[in-house]
Symmetry: C2
Subunit: 315 residues, 2 copies
């Protein structure tokens, strides 16, 4: 298995990316894994030696350009054809790697995923999700968190299917409970979109729909998979991220609130494209990179995107 | 000034309502105030004597019915014409009281406000807001928080005006900064609604528009007044409420997180109707009732709804 990693993406690249690779190999080295590292060769080689990363586990692919965090995604991908992100997607599209990871320019990663990869047959639009730390210790999934600011009810129904498959195969949740983010508990509540999505979710036999979930239910055990359009989802995610910052500012050290440090989850996978793409937070440190490799390995090993494809076609 | 209070609404009525009245009169008694208390006369009279509430400050209006928390609002208001909520709105509509407060059935309060009172001239739709505790110690305002799940851009622009007036006159914020809840910082970001609302807010000379605010900005000082449709606003509010519950569950005792106890803010005023209506949380205790009286007194004293009317007509 070849996992591709953009070593130049993120605020602390390439050093934290190198440390992340080292951490992954130390902690949860997967036997058949080869890491394909995209980036500035002299810089990377020096760091990989410095951090004593086993040579048989990686291969450096030299790239000469970097897409900065604030560059226009489409323009940058078109012009910087030898950037770590562009080359990574070329490798992914042509099968030279099985998954691609970057903590770089999120827009460029999304555009790269959408335009260099095929959308899974039957999927209306790919989606991005976020891990949600649940109070009972389990791991929830919220989607969409920003790729689709306006949605049709059918999209929410597909998010439910894709999220359920991901929750099952990557988080190991058996028969994940799916909730529709809404403003009240009862059927019939909500805006036009939520009202229209509810019956689709209710009739969808591919998922375990448990009804509406409210803002107060995001962190409880009412649902494992929570679906909404990307506007509300993005606001929820960024608000949840800020809860961790608040706890830090307030010098509150609490095991549950510490799980709001979204860096520990690594990154967010793009669901609905044919190959695994994982987008990391700009502030990713070693643990985030290590976790992204871990999720990528799991996604390849479980063929979760193949499972998404099967499930979508059953709706 | 006559402030009307539904003594039978809320999970802990009438005893907490009586205690709240007592608390208000002890702590911030306003000279010209007369409290008009709607509810079961024998029960109230006994409690008012028991809690030693000064007789010259209140008058009990006997009502014989109660609208329960789970009753259908429109049906209940129509059938229970002698309920504390119905009679309260009759008093408000006919000028016998200057403001009406209840921690009872929220739907019935909204229906009552919308149908027994006139909408302020020029207001497309009334709105409900929520106090947001800011990290810098100041008090933010978020609106709409659930009355209008789907909105037009013009409504968001009006929420901005109504919220600014409320923030200025009730919270004492000078020239409140208005932010549009969105998924990114830059103009042009967002769903169709946010994209269309941005230019209206930018051109609105009646407000101090500071641009987009994201989920991570809800609790920081980027904006004093934050506007969105009621779907996202309701999810934000209920999520914020759950942060307090989480802190309690986790036994975290932190002064800032304690401000997420929304009960301390009393209730949410309906903005855009011609007279002050304040809706309390079902779980309201004495402090919440006391604070609701305080806000009602301020709303009448400052003629905040008259100011809303003037401001709306300037858009």
């Amino acid at each position: 298995m070849n996992i591709g990693l953009d070593m130049m993406g993120g605020d602390f690249a390439p050093i934290e990316a190198v440390k992340g690779v080292k951490q992954y190999l130390l902690e949860q080295n997967f036997e058949g894994l080869s890491l394909i590292l995209f980036g500035d060769e002299p810089q990377l080689t020096a760091l990989l030696i410095e951090y004593d990363v086993p040579k048989d586990k990686y291969k450096v692919v030299a790239t000469t350009q970097i897409i900065d965090m604030n560059e226009h995604p489409t323009k940058a991908l078109k012009e910087k054809t030898n950037s770590s992100i562009s080359v990574g997607f070329q490798y992914l599209a042509t099968g030279k790697i099985d998954a691609f990871i970057s903590a770089g320019n999120t827009g460029a990663m999304l555009v790269g995923a959408m335009f260099s990869l095929k959308t899974v047959e039957g999927v209306l639009r790919p989606t991005i999700s976020s891990v949600i730390p649940k109070q009972d210790g389990s791991t929830g999934l919220l989607l969409d968190v920003g790729l689709n600011a306006d949605c049709k009810p059918e999209q929410l129904n597909q998010f439910a299917v894709m999220g359920s498959v991901f929750s099952k195969y990557i988080f190991g949740v058996d028969d994940p409970k799916v909730g529709l983010i809404n403003v009240g508990e009862e059927e019939g509540k909500g805006n036009i979109l939520a009202q229209a999505a509810y019956p689709l979710l209710k009739e969808n036999s591919a998922i375990n729909f448990v009804g509406n979930v409210e803002g107060r239910d995001v962190f409880n055990d009412k649902a494992d998979v929570m679906v909404c359009e990307g506007f509300t989802g993005n606001v929820i995610l960024k608000l949840a991220e800020s809860v961790y910052d608040i706890a830090q500012n307030q010098k509150v050290d609490n095991p549950y609130l510490n799980r709001f440090n979204f860096e520990i989850y690594g990154g967010t996978p793009v669901l609905g494209v044919e190959k695994p793409v994982i987008i990391g937070h700009g502030i990713s440190h070693a643990t985030a990179f290590s976790n992204m490799v871990d999720v990528a390995v799991k996604m390849v090993n479980t063929d979760v995107l193949g499972k998404v494809k099967e499930a979508i076609q059953k709706i």
